[in-house]
């Protein structure tokens, strides 16, 4: 409201401007908790409690700081930089920068989605992620912001908050700001928390607007793999994370009745999300499949949006004469902006290869341009083969001079020189084997002084495997239903369901994606609740058992013991954290509203959940992990995860770290070191499985629950390490905790360790949660 000039009895008013952001009737009766819209330091004391137990073990990936012109500074050991910063602070500062990048990406993504959905559907468009099955529609927003969003427009206030916090967090990393590693780490947790909220905003917005599955247990099975593509049709490839351009392609195909004539294929999270929009879309693979799919020559046109898109994709697209359409301001690839041109003109220029690609920033145009281009380009391209044929492989391999530069550049130290030597003699078995474990980075090719197309040779050797790559993955379901939470909340909190294990994140796997699938199947068979998301969800589907079935065909998609629940893309990770939070809310009836510390304390002590990012690679993966940490949920990463520069490790040998309050009495009592770590890298799949089982233990487990969890931990330890774990006595609180089937060997160990029985507390780290202060007599 603006008033230019107003004369009244009490005076004259000039240039008055009033603006009211939002005036809504308050319908939510839940009382406001202590920390709505927390600032950088609001939850600092909670963070410090966690960081006291899980002290960072820094492993500098670089000994220098080169962020200002006084540098480079050598920070090795006790040295400080020109600004006075120490090595621990510099490492945690770098972690914060990393997590801020990840959070910015999700916040930016969420803002774009909400803006475009608001324009298309209106700000009053209702949020609906599961109808009456999901009354707690946005657990993380409720928890962090203290508001209950009902419409797309309500998400603006949340995004304003997130953008504000992100700006403040990034400012923290400037020279001469924070100097304490502990405070940097607290801010890492804060960045992780806002990242989780951003993911929730993005996913509930797109579920509500695009009609994605709404918490359905049995979503459609989607075709997965390069072998699933009908190459006789024109093929469109979508890559990235931001689904509206792909949605427009589907809409255009439907409108023009071309759905059956054109193959829509995808890589990474856009493929996961577009398969939530239409089950006809095909998922090719995780981001590590980008190069191999493009080099297969199968896609006729490539549409990229944002995040995790290879920076050289335009060059690769040109090699196979496939036009590329960039659709996002964050990823323009140097292409000419043709947003305001006529679609047919753009198509003509790409089909004639006058331009290698275009930038189209109006999502509504993408479908028409991509489809017409694919249809016109396809007949010209079908004759082109791009993998070296087997008869060519031998000749190319003979150029190798065994300098080993390829192996020295391979993230997994793959024995490429040995494979080349064999290939030069006509034996391609080693090259073919590499297909399964290659992460698709092609650094080997960059390193080769002979310019041998090593990555393409691996693909050429594995052509038969490529053709057989046909799998099924369950479409991402989104949220977990309230009724599911009611049913499993008790068994989880009591420990009778041994844990919730979430396989998330990128495909920088040490030995291929098969390991993820194997872990998923192992824990589902053991009656854990297994969740998947993002590239890990795709990898989990790219392995068949002896019966030819994938994990998604073997196990139900419901959030129950033995379920394998694909929640969806990266932003759907919010539903996994949300499920943990909803257990506190729906099962335990704790207030969520602006009540972060209490809920995190509940989750930490009671909900045996573990995140596994076996191939964690990106800054987003770091942000996702950080969000779990603040909620007290441990995260296991693969061996490459140490490159995030630090672990958060507990010390089971330090008894003093594992005392907690018994909320019933106020006594401080020793609990088990459970969970032992908050962020830990495992060296191998075998170690990861043992660690996951162990990290699912929580102080609140009942004896029955602890016995079930110990059964899994001891069994996996014996199977993979060949012995009974030497710390079992720390996890046995009463004799009732001992699994009956393992009683003899565990009791023997208890006697050797001079074990004594102890009480099972009602655990909390928060003094204010003590119900009855101990009265001194």
């Amino acid at each position: 409201m603006k008033i230019g000039e107003l004369k009244t009895d009490f005076g004259n008013i000039k240039d008055l401007q009033l603006s009211i952001g939002q005036a809504k009737e308050e319908k939510w009766e839940e009382p406001m908790g202590p920390t709505p819209f927390p600032s950088l330091t609001t939850l600092r004391e909670w963070d410090k409690k966690l960081l006291e137990r899980y002290k960072p073990f820094y492993m500098p990936f670089c000994d220098m700081c080169c962020l200002c012109t006084q540098g480079k500074c050598d920070l090795t050991g006790p040295k400080r930089g020109a600004c006075g910063i120490s090595m621990p602070a510099q490492q945690s500062r770098t972690v914060l920068i990393t997590v801020c990048i990840g959070a910015a990406t999700h916040i930016g993504h969420a803002r774009e989605l909400v803006t475009s959905i608001s324009e298309k559907f209106g700000k009053d468009h209702p949020l609906d992620v599961g109808g009456h099955n999901v009354e707690v529609e946005a657990p993380l927003i409720r928890l962090v912001c203290g508001i209950k969003p009902e419409t797309i427009g309500d998400l603006d206030e949340v995004l304003d908050y997130l953008e504000n916090q992100l700006t403040q967090l990034l400012a923290v990393t400037h020279t001469g700001q924070e100097g304490s590693s502990v405070d940097f780490e607290s801010k890492v947790f804060h960045a992780g928390m806002i990242d989780q909220v951003a993911m929730e905003v993005a996913d509930i917005a797109q579920i509500s607007a695009f009609g994605f599955p709404k918490a359905e247990e049995e979503t459609p099975l989607i075709e997965l793999g390069m072998g699933a593509v009908d190459t006789s049709k024109p093929v469109i490839l979508v890559v990235g994370h931001n689904v509206p351009p792909a949605v427009n392609i589907v809409d255009y195909l439907q409108k023009t009745k071309l759905t059956e004539e054109v193959e829509l294929t995808g890589i990474c999270c856009t493929s996961l999300d577009i398969s939530r929009y239409t089950p006809k879309a095909k998922i090719i693979g995780p981001i590590s499949w980008q190069l191999r799919y493009v080099r297969s020559g199968v896609p006729d046109v490539i549409v990229v949006d944002e995040q995790c898109v290879r920076a050289d994709l335009l060059i690769e697209a040109q090699r196979i004469h496939a036009p590329l359409i960039a659709t996002n301001q964050k990823n323009c690839l140097g292409l000419e902006d043709r947003t305001n041109d006529r679609p047919d003109d753009i198509v003509a220029d790409m089909v004639s290869e006058k331009v290698p690609g275009v930038l189209i920033l109006d999502t509504n145009q993408v479908g028409e341009v991509a489809t017409k281009t694919a249809i016109q380009v396809a007949p010209k391209r079908k004759k082109m083969g791009f993998f070296p044929k087997k008869e060519e492989l031998k000749e190319i391999a003979r150029k190798c001079n065994q300098c080993k530069e390829c192996r020295r550049s391979c993230p997994n130290d793959a024995a490429i020189p040995e494979a080349m030597k064999a290939a030069g003699k006509g034996n391609f078995a080693l090259l073919e084997e590499m297909y399964d474990e290659c992460v698709g980075c092609a650094r080997c090719e960059q390193a080769c002084p002979q310019k041998i197309p090593i990555h393409s040779m691996i693909l050429g050797a594995a052509q038969e495997k490529v053709k057989e790559e046909k799998y099924k993955i369950r479409a991402g379901r989104g949220a977990i239903q309230d009724i599911e939470i009611r049913q499993v909340g008790g068994p989880i909190v009591l420990g009778e369901i041994p844990g919730v294990v979430a396989f998330v994140g990128c495909p920088n796997f040490p030995k291929g994606g098969k390991e993820v699938a194997e872990m998923v199947i192992e824990f589902a068979k053991r009656r854990y609740i297994v969740c998947t998301s993002g590239c890990a969800a795709i990898a989990a589907g790219m392995y068949k058992n002896d019966e030819g079935k994938t994990a998604y065909e073997l196990f139900p998609g419901s959030f129950e013991a033995g379920g394998v629940v694909n929640v969806g893309s990266c932003v759907s990770n919010a539903h996994i954290a949300g499920a943990a939070v909803k257990i506190a809310s729906i099962f335990a009836r704790r207030n969520l509203r602006g009540n972060y510390e209490e809920i995190a304390d509940y989750v930490y002590n009671r909900v045996g959940a573990v995140g596994v990012a076996w191939g964690a690679m990106t800054q987003k993966a770091a942000a996702i992990a950080s969000g779990f940490w603040r909620l007290g949920i441990p995260v296991v990463v693969g061996p490459h995860g140490t490159k995030y520069r630090r672990m958060l490790l507990g010390r089971r040998d330090k008894e003093e770290l594992w005392y907690t309050y018994d909320a019933r009495t106020g006594d401080k009592v020793y609990t088990s070191p459970a969970p032992e770590h908050l962020f830990v890298a495992a060296e191998t799949k075998e170690e990861a499985m043992v660690m996951i089982a162990k990290l699912c233990m929580r102080p609140n487990d009942t004896s029955k629950g602890r016995a079930i969890k110990l059964t899994n931990y001891v069994d996996l330890h014996k199977r993979n390490f060949g012995s009974i774990p030497d710390d079992v006595h720390l996890y046995v609180r009463t004799m009732a905790d001992v699994p009956i089937t393992m009683k003899d060997e565990i009791v023997k160990m208890l006697n050797e360790k001079q074990w004594k029985e102890r009480t099972i507390p009602d655990p909390t780290l928060l003094p204010r949660m003590i119900r009855k202060a101990k009265v001194k007599v």
Binding site: F57, G77, P639, E687
Partner: protein, 179 residues
């Protein structure tokens, strides 16, 4: 490649870089000088073939000859037990790294902190980051790798050497320390 280049090309070290073990006597002297040495052995020890043996067999010979305790990381414990050798402890690589960085840690046997940690058989990049943590935060500890690739973040490392040269070096160390 120069013999003191990091095995993985891009993993260039910082200003402080490992000294080279140019002959077995260098490693032997370090081990003899140590009052509380320890071996940390990763899963690749059971996979790396060294002519008719595997790396783990050399580790067992070294540990048996010297009495140096072995921490088996990941699932390496299984391979040790399969060879009737019981490691002193089974622990994840980052867990043992974290404890070695703590000057107050009493050690696996409770007899005090270690002064020399020797590593072998860990994936290169995991060993690289682990050794970086110890280089920066464990001034009380010397580190040495027994792998055949150069690790800039250790105090002492072999250069990048062939399997044949590696075998000769390890055999000499095992023999000399057993005398």
């Amino acid at each position: 490649m120069a013999n003191n280049e990091a095995w993985m090309t891009a993993e260039v070290g910082g200003p402080k870089r490992a000294s080279l073990i140019t002959k077995p006597e260098v490693a032997e002297a370090m081990i003899r000088r140590a009052r509380r040495p320890i071996l940390v052995i990763g899963h690749l020890a059971a996979e790396i073939e060294m002519e008719d043996k595997k790396l783990i067999d050399y580790v067992i010979d070294l540990a048996t000859n010297t009495g140096i305790p072995v921490v088996a990381t990941a699932h390496t414990g299984n391979a040790f037990l399969g060879r009737r050798f019981t490691p002193a402890s089974i622990m994840s690589a980052v867990d043992i790294g974290n404890r070695l960085a703590d000057p107050t840690w009493k050690g696996i046997d409770g007899n005090g902190p270690y002064d020399l940690a020797m590593f072998a058989g860990l994936p290169y990049s995991l060993a690289w980051t682990l050794l970086s943590g110890l280089k920066n935060f464990a001034p009380h500890l010397k580190t040495m790798t027994l792998d055949n690739v150069y690790h800039p973040n250790a105090n002492w490392s072999f250069p990048n050497i062939s399997i044949k040269d590696w075998i000769i070096n390890l055999q000499a160390i095992i023999r000399d320390l057993g005398e």
